[in-house]
Subunit: 391 residues, 2 copies
């Protein structure tokens, strides 16, 4: 395949012909290089992972489900190393091009999947989202993307990172295709999906966005809230600031990521971009007390949500606090950006709640996404409602 | 050149023909890939350093001095990344073979230089020693090697790491050649070198070595002390344990290494073996208080040495606490080994004193080196005395 975007892994020739009939017949898709394809080594964005692992014995369950539904998988896409990045700048394989924001990062870690969809190389693509890895590239690349409710979509055959947060998500250029894929992967019929009856514009989340981004997204949020009818503007987190959510998620996610990969790292001393090692080492140093505090915090937020957010409610928030940053910034600069980004993505990460990016605004010609989120289990409501949101 | 040991950098073709006459005429040597050669990029053991730096404008002063003295430089040798390693296992370029200890590391960071000398690919080689990078591979590979007094040999045109500790050193298979190189690089005549009159067997240093290594080295040390005449067995450090020396050196060296490379790392987010990133991050986190305490500690030890160690005294100590470790160990295991190694190498590192490895013993057929050290400025005494130490 001609790949002008550096979206696809050069080391992988994995291709799976879709079944001749099915709801997704005739469509093409790509899978982030964390999804196993039988007979191929899953590379996970790192050359030492690629070199040291054997070919997968089975194809990831979601990939097989899509192929069985008629879609043809045409390739594996680039990812940040072991899914530990949010910008998509892979130190080994380069950065996929962001077709909607030249000279800027595509976002990550599902960088190649987002680039391939945004650039029209495939109809849709699979990603994973632990700390924002579907939502952020969807926002930066100006496409639809969903992080579903945690544990609704199988992670079998997927290289996981932090089990409390890992999810499989997907990207498409329009809400209709996003929904059709959802019907396959959630094994659901969106015709019977509930309609939202209340909207909340999350003021605490909007406060994290840069003013230009917040100003671009707020009218869109108000228009969408008007479609629902009842609208409230209030802080989503009424007891503790979102910065505290992020601090706890970072501790738990980091420690879990070290539990996932630490033994392999210890055994093989693999090569990483410096920032990836820094991420892992921060996680390694999270102690049991911080881990326990993080888990307790997460449980408290989930309990609180059950009380404060009704099943028929959609929350509107910025997906990312700004458009895609410039390529090749200093890591000290990206580190600061990452904190703001993750303070937004931590909301649904902590809650295990679904979140869907609507690519409905721009800042200086660059995409910025508005997110709709719901209580865990509200995936169908989000996917069905997204069909009505385009102006 | 045929390089069965993976001692030489594949990316470098640097070669400098020696002057037709001179004290080193007809000899060949190699230089660690930290030494600049005009017109060639210095790679420093890291592919991103290699890719991001321009060719050197000038040849390192010591290399030029050797070439002017008649020696021909035949190639650049592998090093641990940016000289930050002690085992010689480079995650990008592989590990040079230790010809004297198959299946074991050559030691580093001057790994390729030691391997090339031990394997007879060159007559001698240049290395650098900040925290043991000449002494340890000399011990592991069973060859002579010297770390001279700090600032006696020019570092011009050499990629430095931590200015308080950096030195240029060299390796040879016999003491005579080691001395001839010393006459060129120290601009001295060893015929007038002083003879040692007192020997100290450093019991605190011997206590750090594994019992088998200490048992193999002690008779050699006693034989050598007998050559000198007066011999005392006592702790070298009479006020604070050597472990404390190491803690301070690690802090100061780490912080200085971050000062040297941190801006480049921040700008380019380069790829490193995980352990190298860990080293840099530990240095990055050393605060000003720890740095000041380390510098004060170092000054105190130097002052103490001036009072307790006479200019005519040679101290005998194990170069490394054990023979070369097995290749490919877990980094948690190498980390523990590194602490023991560095507790020995920190002595001359802290003092800025010269130390010379004598490859005079074995443990289970593997080389273990005995070191002779002296006060700063005692290089000539060590080089001249080494000529008399072979049994």
């Amino acid at each position: 395949m001609h790949d002008p975007l550096n979206a696809f892994c050069a080391h992988s020739t994995a291709r799976l012909q879709g079944a001749p009939a099915g709801p997704l017949a005739g469509l093409t898709f790509a899978a982030k290089d964390l999804f196993d394809i039988a007979g191929h080594v899953t590379g996970a964005g790192n050359p030492d992972w690629l070199a040291l692992n054997a070919p997968a014995e089975r194809t990831a369950r979601v990939v097989q489900a899509l192929v069985d539904a008629g879609a043809t998988m045409v390739g594996k896409t680039h990812t940040d190393e072991l899914s530990r990045g949010i910008f998509g700048e892979n130190a080994h394989y380069g950065t996929p091009t962001n077709p909607k924001a030249p000279g800027r990062v595509p976002g990550g870690s599902s960088s190649g999947s987002a680039a391939a969809v945004a650039g029209g190389l495939v109809d849709f693509a699979l990603g994973t989202d632990t700390g924002g890895s579907v939502r952020i590239p969807a926002s930066f690349c100006g496409i639809f993307g969903i992080r579903p409710t945690r544990a609704r979509v199988s992670l079998a055959g997927v290289v996981g990172q932090a089990p409390s947060f890992d999810t499989v998500g997907w990207f498409a250029r329009d809400a209709h295709l996003l929904a059709r894929i959802g019907e396959v992967l959630l094994a659901t019929d969106l015709g019977s999906a509930p309609h939202p009856r209340r909207a909340i514009i999350a003021t605490d989340a909007f406060a994290i966005a840069d003013p230009a981004t917040a100003n671009a997204l707020l009218p869109v949020a108000e228009r969408i809230a008007a479609l629902i009818g009842s609208c409230e503007k209030r802080a989503l987190s009424q007891t503790v600031p979102l910065a505290e959510w992020f601090a706890h998620q970072r501790a738990v996610q980091g420690r879990e990521a070290w539990a996932t990969f630490g033994d392999w790292i210890d055994r093989y001393n693999p090569r990483f971009g410096f920032e990836i090692s820094d991420n892992f080492l921060r996680g390694m140093r999270v102690d049991d007390t911080a881990l326990a505090a993080g888990r307790q915090f997460q449980a408290a937020r989930r309990a609180e949500l059950t009380q404060t957010l009704a099943a028929d409610t959609i929350v509107l928030l910025p997906t990312a606090p700004f458009p895609a940053p410039l390529l090749g910034q200093r890591r000290s600069a990206t580190w600061a950006s990452r904190t703001a980004i993750s303070t937004l993505t931590t909301i649904c990460g902590t809650l295990g709640a679904p979140q869907l990016n609507l690519p409905l605004a721009q800042v200086d010609g660059l995409p910025v996404g508005l997110s709709i989120m719901a209580r865990p289990g509200g995936d169908e409501m989000l996917l069905a409602f997204a069909l009505h949101t385009s102006p």
